[in-house]
């Protein structure tokens, strides 16, 4: 396996050059901070700080209920693996408007950087493909990153992007931790803004 070189703090802005067009759901820890940094914790963003493993299905429920909106789940390798079976459910329901971005740092960054399964034997992109996800790719170089936005626009959904990054720190962004406020803020934005 090639050594990861990408800095996670740089990747989301390249994948989503126009984040206002998306509704974002993020799993806990680093991906939540990276996502909040991308959107400045905007109303189109619902980030988690718990419920590990739930990001993919929250995004699926949203994508099925808002078929005219582009929905992106931003998760980490640990969060995704906790409910890896949810990829099968995503593939089975096949929402064309859903993209899952897994920021794979190969470790559990939030709890001290303990080695994760993707540093050993697990290949998330192959798992997504095996689940039946329509389009999947691995981003691990600058050249891959240059093509990621086009992948989102051109490939049929649901899409899965595994972004291999170093084990460096996530984006330094302080997000709103009032969950009840965030859920109402998000819902109001999701229901009142046009699709993009």
């Amino acid at each position: 396996m090639r050594q990861a070189t990408l800095d996670r703090r740089d990747v989301l802005a390249r994948i989503f050059p126009d984040p206002d067009r998306y509704l974002f759901i993020s799993g806990l820890a680093g991906p939540a901070r990276d996502t909040a940094g991308l959107t400045k914790d905007g109303a189109n963003t619902f980030t988690m700080a718990g419920a590990m493993g739930a990001a993919t299905t929250v995004g699926l429920g949203l994508a099925l209920s808002a078929p005219d909106r582009k929905v992106a789940v931003v998760t980490g390798d640990g969060e995704l693996l906790m409910n890896i079976g949810s990829l099968v459910t995503v593939a089975s329901m096949a929402p064309p408007n859903l993209t899952i971005v897994c920021i794979d740092n190969g470790c559990h960054g939030e709890t001290g950087g303990q080695t994760g399964h993707t540093s050993r034997t697990a290949n998330l992109e192959q798992i997504a493909k095996g689940a039946g996800i329509a389009s999947s790719t691995v981003v691990e170089t600058e050249a891959d990153l240059d093509k990621a936005a086009a992948f989102l626009e051109e490939m049929p959904g649901p899409r899965f992007i595994q972004v291999r990054v170093t084990d460096g720190p996530p984006t330094n962004y302080k997000r709103n931790f009032n969950m009840a406020e965030c859920r109402i803020r998000f819902r109001t934005a999701a229901m009142n803004t046009a699709g993009g």
Binding site: A55, T57, V58, G85
Partner: protein, 179 residues
């Protein structure tokens, strides 16, 4: 013969505006699941584990839709952290119907501890439980539970007793669990 409770259950779903139904297959839920699957206005999502249904309910709500999650009692054990950390913490509404095992006349010892723990465990994480001990209880509890969940942003579980579901369903085609 009276209609099966799933007829009223589906009717209450329609009246309440339920548009998404997540489930893990269970014999006691089959009729309700089939009614929902045949309904073009309801998106049914077969889950790999019940925990997925909790995320789906939150996601549907974020888009302005109402949903229901259907599971067997053993599946409740798979949902606890998702309910506590996501639903209860953020005050999302949740409506779930749980078909019970491990109680009335259970023949499978694997079902008993989780079945007996369903109500206290759900209540410990902030879910209000309506326990339907007779067939006549089920319909009004579904109707009342849906109203309460979506009018007051509460998590509500209707627990359908094994006494209502009947033992014939769950031992069909198998000698296991018979005395």
């Amino acid at each position: 013969m009276d209609e099966h409770w799933s007829v009223d259950g589906h009717r209450h779903f329609k009246a309440a505006g339920i548009r998404q139904v997540a489930y893990v297959p269970d014999a006691g839920l089959t009729k309700l699941i089939e009614r929902c699957r045949e309904d073009n206005e309801i998106e049914t999502v077969m889950c790999a584990t019940e925990e997925e249904g909790i995320g789906l309910a939150a996601g549907a709500w974020l888009a302005g839709q109402k949903s229901a999650v259907l599971m067997q009692s053993s599946g409740v054990g798979n949902t606890i952290n998702a309910i506590a950390s996501l639903i209860t913490s953020a005050h999302f509404p949740l409506f779930t119907i749980v078909t019970m095992r491990g109680q009335w006349g259970e023949g499978n010892p694997w079902q008993v501890p989780m079945g007996q723990a369903v109500a206290p465990v759900l209540e410990a994480i902030g879910v209000k439980t309506f326990q339907a001990d007779t067939a006549a209880d089920v319909s009004p509890m579904i109707e009342a539970g849906l109203r309460m969940a979506y009018s007051t942003d509460q998590a509500i579980a209707v627990l359908v007793s094994q006494r209502v579901i009947g033992s014939k369903v769950w031992v069909a085609g198998s000698s296991e669990g018979k005395p």
